[in-house]
Point group: C2
Chain length 235, copies 2
Amino acid sequence: MDYQSFCQQYQPSKKELFTQFYHFFKDKFSVKNERIAVEKLATIIEATFKLSANQSFANMSLRQLSKESGLSMGGLYAYIQNKQQLSLFIHEFLSYFVIKTINQVTNNKGCNNLECIIKTHIYLSELLQPWFFFAFMESKNLSRDEIKAAIQSDLLMESKLIEVIKCGQQEEIYSTILKAETVASLTKPLLSEWYLKRWKYKKRGMSIDQYCLAVMIFIERGLSSPHSLTELEQS
Amino acid sequence: MDYQSFCQQYQPSKKELFTQFYHFFKDKFSVKNERIAVEKLATIIEATFKLSANQSFANMSLRQLSKESGLSMGGLYAYIQNKQQLSLFIHEFLSYFVIKTINQVTNNKGCNNLECIIKTHIYLSELLQPWFFFAFMESKNLSRDEIKAAIQSDLLMESKLIEVIKCGQQEEIYSTILKAETVASLTKPLLSEWYLKRWKYKKRGMSIDQYCLAVMIFIERGLSSPHSLTELEQS
DNA sequence: GTCTATAGCCGGATAGAC
DNA sequence: GTCTATCCGGCTATAGAC
């Protein structure tokens, strides 16, 4: 699986994405016309990403947002009840969407190896980079309960990693110098790195698949037992 | 070198730290009595860390800060010219302090190996965890020029890493599958992970030296050339 | 050096016309 | 559905007493 083939199967168009978004929170919007709502929501969310990427969500005023999105202040409030809810919407939908996609991928492909899980996460974070970036940066401002909900997709990813690693360790494909939990924990920041510092790698001319490869080399080697290392080196 | 010995040599007391802080910005404070200023600055900065850890610097009001630090609103303004400057002070001093310490360590010890550089960074980030956390989270709100300045310690670290890795590659101790720049880039998020998620590892009972060991295993293996891998495994 | 009191502004949110 | 106009609270920052 490479990025291109992943996209063909799982990349939603902007319209598809925000249609799902609309239906996920349907009853919360006073705007009932789906066609209009989907379009405006896309504008609002994207403007939010743009503005809070430079400053931060807290520093973004709704006046700025209204200007950037082309809606009036009043118009904005047809889509959100208050500012905080806007942030919440983003967190909750991302969490839902990530979990859904991860489950899809792992089920469909019978893909239960490290490489597949890691690539799925990196590819997803590429497709939804502003979402991931926002969720990472603004997670602090959620209330306890909201954090719990938003963290689920993170936990799912981590548990999938641990599961696969433990499995490999039992089959003695992987070394047990490091606990599965430790490897999983060290893997996660390598996944975040891609969407947090994407500009850096783009600038350097590193493609997403090259990045995945580098991460895989790191992890596979960190996990490799002595007799498998020589093979790895040759491949 | 372990954490304890690092502390003995480099850990500043709170008083020492904020005395340096005071002198670094001396002319900016209207309070001239050093004894008083150092003490109050410590209170203010620590209150800032506490408050912006839960919310964010942007969401922290100066009223909250005045309550938390025990100074009145007016009193605060003897130490800062405005809110933004408070954030700037933290970034600038941290950058200065990190660069200073890294240079000290690498010079004193003739410590020019990967392990030493990585440990230095992780140990430092432990000593100054709130500073590092703050700098990471609030870096977005700096202006372009300020970012450049604050990023210097980051660059220094990265260039030191690259240098050492390239050196090892030339001596054929390290493999060249991955470019030195790539390994350095993948290493940095592993360093940040410790101060960003410290509670997680504390809770799990993982000590800082255990964490360093795990990171070193990851990286050394990612870099190891085939003939050195077997040795590594046995050690 | 530090406080209280207050100026002045800006941001979130709402009412009501269209 | 969307806009304009406006309210009101809270924020940063300052003036001036002690």
